[in-house]
Point group: C2
Chain length 484, copies 2
């Protein structure tokens, strides 16, 4: 999911947002301009859509199949391909016009990943201390037999710079920046993530510039259950590419403790492979509009996932939520006035190629893209929706927010970015939207082996489905145009 | 730690115990007989001991060394031997008379452990679905290349029996009994554990009697972070020994889901080895009594641990708490009237050989064992202490309970067993004791890779040290004898 600091900073406390938006925002909005009135028929239809989604188990069954029958869906993997075919077939079953739009994706394959401390103060003779870690997506490999080097611990980039090349060259550097769980518990989960993830993204090249032979980061996430959190790194052009991995919080603590007492050496084996880019697909499925078929409202999540877990909260849930919108309109025999386009994006996690390819391939037609929704922050209880674009978006959607208030989801808030895959559309002027999910526990599981089906509460998934379906139907049927 | 259902049933809700004991028990006790009065000097010394332990970081430093510098300490491992030598040396440093009492222990060594579903409904061609599991202690191995068989799921022993040999023979059986986290959250953690652990202990032989080729159990513990919980199994004499492992809760869910949809096959590789019994030691360290040196008050925890984590809550904490009692008496220059004997037991986890050997070796002297304390339920806030023996124990210790109330630990309660290692002493008539720890989160980490130093709150460890030191000093100095 989200990786941009701008976005993570924007994802403010759900609690604060809730209070702000419920108590203050409506007043401000009313002063800006007057919300429109929707016709009684449209209001009635939105409520029917909302209610039907709230009662359906379609999304949960789709999510169960994606995660448990198919499994993890890293770009380029057989599971990703099976998932593309599965989602396309399911949407065809609903009667949608489905296309697979080709996109070339990175093809990175995890290998062996083991590490142990081989020398440290007080160690039992003939033993090692196991280190739990996982390679970062895109990491180069160590030699097949591993590398052994001294480990040093720094808490931030400044401490690394202060050590300088003399003390960093030839070493393995651990960036031990702690995930701020209190910040996350207070509702600022995205901000806590943004702080920690800086070292995952930029740490390897920062260490390599000073001659380090490998880089480790304390896992960017909450929950200390010996779980390493993977995620993409970014090699800079001006630095050697060195192997990089995320260690579990407990192992970061261990290394920090032992390096404070004396010399610590580690044997590190990481054997991932970066293969040639592979062909894959965005799944693009249209429920044609009756009055303005050329006008497109995208409803989407991303189909690819990391490989450690089963891609439930990130982001099988988003795909299932989008599919539910189509299912519920078919079930209710409601044909939208504008075209509703369900998109299951490919390669959000390690390249964002799907979103960018779509914006490029449809460049000439983006003027007809009325709006785009992406859900990519799990499936926790939604408090309302984020919007990106002109602030007046919130005014014209105020009647919808009033309807959503019935399910405790009446909050609206402007942000700089709503989702990685729709960001290129947003940059091209298309208004974009996302549910405001309760993400306090999201980063406990995100990018780990524990991102599994059980982490999604079926009732809260239904709430997200209801919100997104109601939002999509409103956007597809509202008489007003959106400011852009 | 604790494995006997009798004990786990006895470890009742800390909340209920607290209310019961605070509001009702004192009244009942008062009716049984009148509590004694301790001399002002004894009361003053108990309070000094309690206070000094509450302010010391000695136990935490010992625990940090045991877990992080030495590491996991499974019986027979080099780390267990290093830990024996380390604890002995530390207690000698304090001036205690230290002996290593030999005990032959099982020597089981974990090997490779991997599993994957190789055939199941809806699978992506050419893929498998990874299953996270860990061998149970004492398990025999699969063939080195693994075994592949159909998996079937049962929720309890009755369902297994109902299937019968025809449908079980040749299969891998998953016992999918869920850990009752709600029961644990309500304070009945031991009871929740007792229910789940029945399948870990007895499942393999029950399945083998019907011809199963391997047995899996859903992990006996809370917290669903893809963490398998190991622990000892018990092979029955009348059944073939088959390989056995605990799967993570998420993987039990997956198997249950897929087996409900169709045929599921698994490839299972477990290569543990059971080597010849190895020599090891109980560490036995005496702080000689001034008036009755022949009378012994044991203060103990167990030094061995499982191999996945680092043995912090189970039971490095118990050993560190016991060591703190000696340290604090030395620091305060308080010589007890009876001998305080610090014991670090070996092999609680997979054989209980240390406790049994001690009782056997000291059989002739057990009449002089005044009391025995063991801490083996983590280091959560202590609410008071358990006692095993005559109910009048609580009466003669009531003045201590009143003192402990100052640290929120004034609860006293009779139980059938206080700790595995002191149970043989209890059976021989020695009164035994244990802290009543808040164990609501204990089984989230117990027997997993996440049993690491950070799971121990330094302040709560100090509270346990204060309680145990005060209890030990009281037992060693009270003018009364204990009923037995």
């Amino acid at each position: 999911m989200i990786r941009s600091p701008a976005l993570t900073r924007a994802r403010m406390s759900v609690v604060v947002v809730a209070l702000w938006s419920l108590l203050i925002a409506p007043t401000i909005n009313a002063q800006l301009s007057r919300p429109p009135q929707y016709s009684p028929q449209l209001v009635s239809e939105i409520k029917k859509v909302q209610q039907a989604a709230m009662e359906s188990d379609y999304a949960y069954r789709q999510l169960a199949h994606l995660t448990e029958n198919i499994g993890p869906r890293l770009s380029g993997s057989p599971q990703a391909q099976t998932a593309v075919e599965y989602v396309a077939a399911e949407l065809r079953k609903l009667g949608l016009e489905v296309k697979l739009e080709k996109v070339m994706v990175p093809h990175w394959v995890r290998g062996e990943e083991t590490a142990a401390l081989t020398d440290y103060p007080g160690m039992a003779p003939g033993t090692t201390q196991k280190i739990v870690l996982t390679a970062l997506g895109g990491s180069v490999a160590t030699p097949a037999q591993g590398l052994t080097a001294e480990v040093i611990t720094v808490n931030n980039f400044d401490e690394l710079q202060a050590l300088g090349r003399d003390r960093v060259a030839g070493k393995i550097v651990l960036f031990n920046a702690k995930f701020d769980q209190q910040l996350a518990d207070n509702g600022f989960a995205g901000q806590a993530y943004g702080q920690a993830v800086a070292y995952r993204g930029g740490g390897p090249s920062a260490a390599a510039r000073l001659g380090a032979v490998a880089a480790l980061n304390r896992s960017a996430g909450g929950a200390e259950y010996r779980l390493p959190h993977t995620g993409a790194l970014r090699y800079a052009d001006d630095a050697p590419k060195i192997p990089a991995a995320a260690v579990a919080a407990e192992d970061a603590d261990l290394i920090a403790h032992l390096t404070s007492e004396g010399r610590v050496r580690m044997r590190l084996v990481l054997t991932p492979q970066t293969l040639a880019d592979a062909p894959s697909y965005n799944v693009v499925a249209d429920l044609k509009g009756s009055d303005h078929p050329e006008q497109i409202v995208i409803v989407s999540g991303h189909l690819d996932s990391w490989d450690l877990g089963r891609g439930a909260i990130d982001d099988g849930a988003g795909v299932a939520i989008a599919m539910q919108t189509a299912q519920v309109l078919k079930q209710l025999h409601l044909r939208p006035k504008r075209t509703i386009r369900i998109v299951a994006w490919m390669n959000e996690e390690n390249g964002a190629r799907g979103g960018r390819a779509y914006a490029e391939d449809h460049k000439a037609d983006l003027v007809n893209h009325f709006a785009a929704i992406e859900s990519d922050l799990g499936a926790g209880h939604p408090l309302g929706f984020y919007a990106q674009g002109k602030p007046e978006l919130l005014t014209v959607l105020q009647p919808l927010a009033t309807i959503l208030q019935s399910q405790g989801a009446g909050v609206t808030r402007m942000v700089e970015e709503t989702g990685t895959d729709v960001a290129p559309l947003g940059e091209a002027g298309v208004p974009t939207f996302a549910p405001i999910q309760d993400a306090r526990a999201y980063f406990n599981y995100h990018h780990t082996a524990a991102d599994t089906l059980d982490k999604v509460n079926p009732k809260e998934l239904q709430e997200n489905c209801a919100l997104v379906a109601a939002l999509a139907y409103t956007l597809a049927n509202m008489p007003q145009t959106l400011p852009r």
